[in-house]
């Protein structure tokens, strides 16, 4: 219980504050403040390296996508296209693609036919202008192709690093996983700013200009479907796909989350997504769930279809099926 009087704030010390400020104390205070400010400036020096236009007043004042007027959105799109031209050297065909009426997208994957060639994962990188260090860097691809032993469904035993000379390997099967555009999506539920939401055609989209980068959605996703831009995306100029849309494959800023959008810049214009276009075995079936004559409806009505992690309760729009 001893205390050291030499190190306390004694009443005599305290009395100093009652006295009016004299020149000496003022100068002392001023000197101390200047040292403090100098220290602060030195600490914040890296901010000088920020690119001009990295944070503009327009960026900060931009409203949420769903509250933007058409004129606002057009203006923003033009400024984004100009920014991409400045930073990456390509002026994109950037537009906002609205959903079609009477459409709910569904996707099915035939596990009997997938051979694990990874063409879908590579096509995704190219179509969606994702950051990659070299042509073989699959980290940011929205599609993860897993190799599982026949007889096992437990994903804990999966291997995404498989690299045999030929696929498919004996005794293995291959399961690509991407965003399932869940009907009860946990990611949209947990986003604190509603930067990600479900559109009328079922797609879960992200407004990259609204996302604050907290990564709660990444923690919530049961399918590991989301990717984060830990740095400004590196995309080589000759690798850029110029057909871009605001909500899907425009080149993202750093610090935001991105995910598969079923290539909405293609699918909302009636085309197939890039992963389906390149699959050599035709394992992927995409279409409109609301159309009873579509291929996806045929699969759901005629094939042995199941859902990954059904017990979590996400009710996804991505189905897996077997032919035999």
């Amino acid at each position: 219980m001893s205390h050291d009087p030499q190190n306390e704030v004694s009443p005599r010390t305290v009395e100093q504050v009652y006295k009016p400020m004299n020149r000496r104390t003022f100068l002392k205070g001023a000197a101390a403040s200047m040292i403090g400010v100098a220290g602060l400036m030195a600490a914040l020096k890296p901010l000088l390296e920020l690119e001009s236009g990295a944070v503009t007043l327009d960026d900060l004042l931009q409203k949420h996508y769903r509250e933007l007027t058409r004129e606002d959105l057009q203006r923003i799109i033009i400024s984004l296209a100009q920014k991409e031209q400045r930073e990456y050297g390509v002026y994109p065909n950037l537009r906002d693609v609205k959903p079609l009426d009477g459409v709910e997208f569904g996707y099915a994957l035939n596990l009997t036919r997938c051979i694990g060639c990874r063409k879908c994962a590579n096509a995704c990188l190219k179509e969606n202008n994702q950051s990659r260090e070299d042509a073989k860097d699959l980290e940011m691809s929205y599609i993860r192709v897993l190799e599982l032993n026949k007889g096992a469904i437990n994903l804990e035993t999966s291997d995404p690093y498989y690299d045999p000379a030929l696929v498919p390997q004996e005794g293995k099967y291959y399961m690509p996983v991407q965003c399932h555009q869940c009907r009860q999506s946990p990611c949209t539920k947990v986003c604190p700013v509603q930067a990600t939401w479900q559109e009328q055609d079922g797609l879960v989209v992200v407004d990259y200009n609204w996302c604050i980068g907290c990564r709660y959605c990444m923690a919530a996703c049961p399918y590991d479907a989301r990717r984060f831009n830990y740095k400004k995306p590196t995309v080589a100029k000759d690798q850029i796909n110029p057909n871009q849309s605001y909500l899907s494959n425009r080149i993202r800023p750093k610090g935001v989350v991105e995910k598969c959008t079923f290539c909405l810049h293609r699918t909302r214009e009636g085309k197939y997504p890039a992963c389906q276009e390149v699959c050599p075995t035709g394992a992927r079936v995409f279409g409109n769930l609301l159309d009873p004559n579509s291929e996806i409806s045929y699969v759901l009505n005629n094939k042995r279809v199941y859902i990954l992690k059904e017990d979590v309760g996400t009710q996804p729009r991505f189905y897996y099926f077997f032919d035999k």
């Binding site: 699959l138 291997d159 498989y162 045999p164 690798q239 009636g270 035709g282």
Partner: protein
């Protein structure tokens, strides 16, 4: 014998030599022409031909590249939509090749069995189509430009899909519905066309099992992840 000597002496030896050369030349032409439509590799002449051929074989004809029909949109230059198999025959037809199998096959009788006689042509064909042992299960016996149906009727070359449907009805049904094999282009018919691939663009009809292919480069351990395992050890261990 004396008559022959006297015929020869009468100066017909030159005629005989011209005749002999003519036979040799036409035999070698036939040999060389017979070689051209095959795989293009120089196979050694058979015993029957070597008796006549003494000169070098005729030069082989350069064959046009097989054109792959367009799959999907031309604007997708960054997407690799090549079908797994380069088809030969029907694309040559589209390129203008007059693919008339009967030009040879009108000379030679129909043979059923695949495996018990030496081939002059089609040496590259190895029949590994399930339980099929006979070429004529699929090829029409009298019109080799067509395929054969169960009742002996012809299936035209352009309708080759119907041939596959003969036995693979469920797969054909799925293909018609768009669920077997890949479709490219537009899923929404009002906005554009979709294209399907034909059976033979993925499956070699003589050896249709889908060929394993080399996968693209694997996922790498993320650059900022700690403690990566050495590249040789697989992620899954025997314990799990």
């Amino acid at each position: 014998m004396i008559a022959i000597e006297r015929w020869i002496q009468r100066g017909n030896l030159r005629t005989l030599m011209k005749l002999g050369i003519g036979v040799v030349v036409s035999a070698s032409i036939m040999n060389g022409a017979g070689e051209a439509p095959s795989a293009g590799t120089d196979s050694p002449p058979t015993a029957a031909a070597t008796a006549f051929v003494t000169t070098s074989p005729l030069p082989s004809i350069a064959r046009p590249q097989a054109n792959q029909p367009l799959a999907g949109l031309p604007s997708d230059t960054h997407l690799d939509k090549t079908p797994p198999r380069r088809t030969k025959g029907l694309d040559l037809v589209k390129a203008g090749w007059t693919y008339n199998c009967m030009e040879c096959h009108k000379l030679f009788p129909a043979r059923w069995h695949y495996d018990d006689r030496p081939f002059n042509e089609h040496k590259d064909v190895k029949l590994e189509h399930g339980n099929n042992r006979f070429c004529l299960n699929c090829h029409h016996p009298t019109n080799r430009n067509a395929f054969v149906d169960y009742d002996g009727a012809e299936i035209a070359q352009a309708d080759v899909v119907k041939l596959c449907a003969k036995c693979h009805g469920t797969i054909y049904r799925d293909w018609e519905a768009g669920v077997h094999g890949r479709q490219n282009g537009f899923w929404k018919a009002e906005l554009g066309d979709k294209t399907k691939l034909r059976c033979i663009q993925c499956h070699d009809p003589h050896s249709p099992k889908f060929k394993p292919m080399q996968p693209l480069a694997p996922l790498r351990y993320p650059p900022r992840g700690a403690n990566p395992l050495p590249a040789t050890s697989p992620q899954t261990s025997a314990a799990h």
